[in-house]
Amino acid sequence: MTGYQRTLRLMALWLVSWGALRLSAQTTFPINGIYDQREGLYAFTNASIYTAWNQRIDNATLLIRQGKVEAVGQKVNVPAHAVVIDLKGKTIYPSFIDLYSDYGMPAQRQDAAPGGRLFGGAVQRTTSKKGAYNWNEALKPEFRAHEVFNPDDKAAKTMRDIGFGAVLSHQHDGISRGSATMVLLGEAAPHELIVKDKAAHHFSFRKGSSRQDYPSSLMGSIALLRQTYCDAQWYKATQGKEEYNISLQAWNDLAGLPQVFEVGDCLEALRAAAIGREWNVQYILKGSGEEYKRLEDIKKTGSPLIVGLNFPEAYDVEDPLDARQVSLAQLKHWELAPSNPARIAAAGIPFALTSHGLRNKADFMAQLRKAIENGLSEQDALKALTHTPASLMGVSDKLGSLAPGKIANFFITNGNIFDKDTKVYHHWVGGKPYVLKNIDVPEVVGKFSLEATTPTPGGQLWRYDLVVSGTDENPDMKLMLNDTASVKVKHTLQKDHITLSFAFKEGQNRVRMSGVINGRQWSGRGEDEQGRVFTWTATYTSPSEPPKDVKKDDKPATKSEPGPITYPFGAYGWTTPPKPGTWLITNATIWTNEKEGILQNADILMRNGKIVQVGKGIKAPDATVIDGTGKHVTSGIIDEHSHIAISRGVNEGTQASSAEVRIGDVVNSEDINIYRQLSGGVTTAQLLHGSANPIGGQSAIIKLRWGYAPEQMKLEGAPGFIKFALGENVKQSAWPGSDRYPQTRMGVEEVYNDYFTRAREYGALKASGKPYRRDLDLEAILEILEGKRHITCHSYRQSEINMLMKLAERHGIKVNTFTHILEGYKVADKMAKHGAGGSSFSDWWAYKYEVYDAIPYNGAVMHEQGVTVAFNSDDAEMARRLNQEAAKAVRFGGVSEEDALKFVTLNPAKLLRIDHRVGSLKAGKDADVVLWSDHPLSVYAKAEMTFVDGIRFFDRQEDLRLRADIQAERNRIIQKMIQEKQQGGKTQPVMGRQSFKLYHCDDDEDEMD
């Protein structure tokens, strides 16, 4: 027995009795018994020590005392009374830190069913929490994780076993989740484990357990956060004199801490960061694992990231019909997700790794190795588990590295922690050891001479060779009956005790032996197959022969390269962003929408994103010429009423006014319908809030710049719009039992009257110079009164249309656009006089009572009466053929073809007040141009090419190539998945995930549960 082994054995004895000990010199708790405080002075010698993520010292000593590091390095004076542990050949790492945990937090309320009208329950409009708290229950800034922290030995062990020694824990519930606490993963009273009581303020977009109806949409969550920042500022300024509010006080108290925001996808990361920018907060983003999809944009936010390793399992795609359910985006995500950490590291974004999201925490190291196989360097991995989380939380003085004064959090391995076969022996947390695996394993591999002797002196029973192969930790034993025949020997090994059993012939009674280990000599007592007692010894004779024909693991011959990242991520995305070209379309029929009318055999030139010239005989040597012979060219189609490209909820219909919410906050650039609509010639759309309440949210006007990030899709400098709505939807006619005000058209008028009146008073208060609480709802309505924001009003019946015009006039404003406006034909003269436009369906009717008088001649009548008329889609499918809808104005009411086309081009541009840029073909305007195969109002016409800002975002020929690419890429990844399944990889059943949800005006489900 070596001295080294003796030391370890001693230590093992020590470890047994550690549980009851305290390391601190003093305690507030009374002691029942004899005071037993020890110094905890340990010296770990001869080890390779990672003192930090980027520094390893070999042959070094780590000295700890009372739970802290006292010294580390090659020249450490070890006090004589220190317990010395020789770690020759072993490695010490600083413990990992997980910043995204709910360790030790109380179990969350699990309501059987969500409330709200969808589920037949009563609507909860304000918080149900008693006390002077925030009006909204999803905001819990007053929650203090450290006040309820309760250590959980089982969960702590799970985390320690995968290398973590400390976590930042918070309650995963709500939009503001209150403060998180930094704790050690030891088994002790919470008093000893809390490293930092209030360490961070946590946020998400999800309501969690709150059953309050607001917010029901993502844009509502965003608005709620923005409003709360306003409220908190006001609360600080007024020092609580206006009202006492525990939540706002708590919110302000947490302002100086790191602010951590959990997001659900890569676009939400950008949205959270945008909120932070507005309020000068640099959030640390808890990512979704798909940051790589929009990495450059995320990098620009400057946000550090917390990233998980819960990479998706392969889908079971062997059945080709079932496999159709899985989208290319899902397939590609499976392939690319493991490279997410590496890509983040390569982009130079500071990030921490978390075990959060893993169904089985024990998979952590395996998943981490997957990330490393996909390009993450071991050094970056170590940094992301130690240095970065410590510094993000401002606890680098205590955690994340091994230096004098820091907490003694480290673990001991037999090698590189990132290698598959590396073992962790001990994990020391706060200077206390936790044993995963005994270090002192006896050396048992080799050939032994096993001799059994009867109690009678000299009475040898038998002698055989015992061959022990494998490893000391996991040995295989067999008894050689002669040169070739052997029997398997079962055994148990415990420190210095051993048991053996075997049968000379299979099925016969067994010989059983038990004994002690003294170095390479074993001895003990046994009973043979007939129960006769004997004594035995086993003596080491020689090394066992190495196994013959050792084959190296055949790794897959070639590791196939993952496919490219596309923008957007998935089908029909771009691998490189398209650029504006110089295009000359020649010899086409050109519908100018200008006084020149329709030009035959004419040309149009686009350059630098603008239309340069429209006319005959245009020459441009630098241009790509497109032969337009027999074809038609029009301005891009503008959909005045669209709900595509919106994430998680089109309505915040929980209150009569939701003027504070903005569609612009939730533009979904990944929606495949953007591309599909380009194929129908659409180039611009107004993304509207729904019609669930009288005053809805603010619109976004986007160009269909497929592949661009949400902010880049927005039409620069477009004026502000807001959705209003009248009639059955806002009365909630379809919700029996609804009691939200208003329930009648009478109430609808009063809501507007009230809000306009209050907004005016609010404006006066603002102008007065007195302190005021910034109210985002009234701000938006004030903008309407000031003419800075324009109304698009969902409307059907003439009575309400008339009402709103009269009410607006009383308040000195105009209604910009009535949308739907199916009874516009009854009051077209009044609309013209008021100056309101009409944006209608061509021919929809009979889907509800208020559209029973709708007629397809509506557009024509309004047009004749001098109203600016548009036809819109309100529908992702119909938008692809708005040119055909325009043709119905010719069929129903005899509008001229030239004017009918304007219903979907120039007129919506006018209604959106962007006709100086789009809507007609004239030099200087945006090059938003469609090349049609046929007369654009013909049912047979197809958009062959669609240009936005001179960029050819759709080309029917190119589309055919993309389809082939999609098939090829799908097949490549599917084959890879099948291979993984055949090699024993885990799979999950097929499941489809689309890039969008389809919304119409009245979709009003709660999406924030």
């Binding site: 029909y572 009854k826 005899g894 013909s938």
Partner: protein
């Protein structure tokens, strides 16, 4: 041409501001002789400069001048249709026309009975001839419709009606022609997760359908059952072929599974919907299964799908030689049925095949082709004249229409409202 619609609007014999559907037309008294039109026969053929004549509700002549022979023109009311188009009346299959007046007003909706198994429910008796909707539909050339119940697993029985009648009895063209299975969805959308997952009840629902067919088949062999079972009775004509089986299914596996099930009971079904039919053409052809296409004005089924997946489906089925026709979900929407066909032409379907898929193909699939569905001598005089191409919205102005020789009114509530408010603006009140 621009002024023609207006002229038409003010020339109707019945100028009325009463909110009533038009009076049904009387039987044909005088033979009609339409000359000079481009006649789209519905069977894939087209006659330029045609002669179409009909009397007593039946078509008597479908000719070109070369093979016309001797005709005594004095007997006829002669219509000069030079430059215009004549079509057989379009047929709208699989519709809830007349079963729904206003979709969101529950009291006006009779489209689906409660419960899963309603094979005995008969749509014909709920068909409302006084609905304001059918007149707007027939003004677009749709003159016949298959009134079809919805919902559950077995939705009930459909009937064919003509769209100009006093009551459902004289609207009935052929009653209780089909039994409708609403095939369960293989995948269902989970709103909260935003994912499409396999429908967990799928196998159970299929088992319920199979049990129904198995037990009905046995039951129907008993000619004098001690106790009548209305639900099982409804299936008996299906086993003899006297009643068709319509299976509403879109997903490829749903289509193959449902057809295999029907075959086990000796039934050749009709697939309604058929979104994935384009990848099953060999299977459908081999089993002689016709398809009533669902809306082709639909989004592609998946993110990765071809952007024109629904638009090109008709031409795919045509090229594969599968009998198919167009349909349009819903009720008021039927007036846009012709434009679906037009859209398919834009994606490669030959024009006359598109007409066939609104007329004769539809009639064949519904089992009424012996008497209607095409312009052929001896068939019903159910047809219309359009100023221009009836499949293109910019030209499709129906000017005259006949059902079994009766010239129907093309007026409707929406024209009435149009006239009414024209008056308001003309008076400048």
């Amino acid at each position: 041409m621009k002024n023609i619609p207006l002229a038409l609007i003010f020339c109707w014999p019945i100028i009325s501001l009463l909110a009533q559907t038009p009076v049904p037309a009387p039987p044909q008294e005088m033979p009609v002789y339409i000359v000079g039109a481009t006649a789209h026969l519905g069977n894939g053929q087209v006659l330029q400069n045609s002669v179409i004549a009909f009397e007593n509700g039946k078509i008597t002549l479908v000719r070109t001048p070369e093979n016309l022979g001797q005709v005594n023109l004095s007997r006829y009311k002669i219509i000069d249709a030079k430059g215009k188009h004549v079509y057989p009346g379009f047929i709208a299959p699989n519709t809830q026309l007349g079963l729904i007046e206003i979709a969101a007003v529950r009291a006006t909706v009779d489209a689906g009975e409660t419960g899963q198994l309603n094979p005995n429910a008969r749509a014909i008796i709920a068909y409302d001839t006084d609905s304001e909707v059918p007149p707007t539909v027939r003004a677009q050339g749709v003159l016949l419709a298959q009134i079809t119940p919805q919902g559950g697993l077995l939705s009930g029985q459909s009937s064919i009606v003509q769209l100009d009648a006093w009551n459902w009895e004289d609207a009935a063209y052929k009653t209780d022609i089909g039994l409708h299975i609403n095939w369960p969805r293989l995948y269902s959308f989970n709103w909260f997760q935003g994912t499409t997952n396999r429908n967990e009840n799928y196998d159970k629902e299929i088992a319920a359908l199979e049990t129904y067919l198995k037990e009905a088949q046995a039951y129907c062999k008993n000619t004098k059952p001690d106790e009548r079972n209305l639900k099982l009775d409804a299936a008996c004509p299906v086993f003899t072929g006297a009643r068709k089986l319509f299976i509403h299914a879109d997903d490829a596996k749903a289509i193959t599974t449902s057809v295999q099930l029907a075959k086990r009971y000796g039934i050749t079904p009709v697939i309604a919907g058929g979104r994935d039919a384009g990848i099953l053409t060999d299977f459908l052809k081999a089993n002689n299964v016709p398809v009533i296409l669902g809306n082709i004005h639909a989004l592609p089924s998946r993110d990765d799908a071809d952007i024109d997946e629904p638009f090109k489906l008709p031409v795919q089925l045509h090229q594969a030689g599968i009998l198919f026709c167009f349909s349009m979900e819903g009720f008021w929407q039927q007036r846009n049925l012709p434009y679906q066909a037009g859209h398919a032409v834009g994606y490669g379907l030959p024009y006359e095949q598109a007409i066939a898929a609104l007329t004769l193909n539809t009639a064949k699939i519904l089992g009424i082709e012996a008497t209607t569905g095409s312009l052929e001598e001896g068939k019903d005089a159910t047809l219309f004249i359009s100023e221009g191409d009836a499949l293109d919205m910019r030209q499709s102005t129906v000017v005259q229409a006949w059902i079994k020789g009766r010239q129907i009114s093309l007026d409707h509530k929406q024209l009435e409202l149009y006239r009414k408010f024209k008056i308001k603006y003309e008076r400048k009140e």
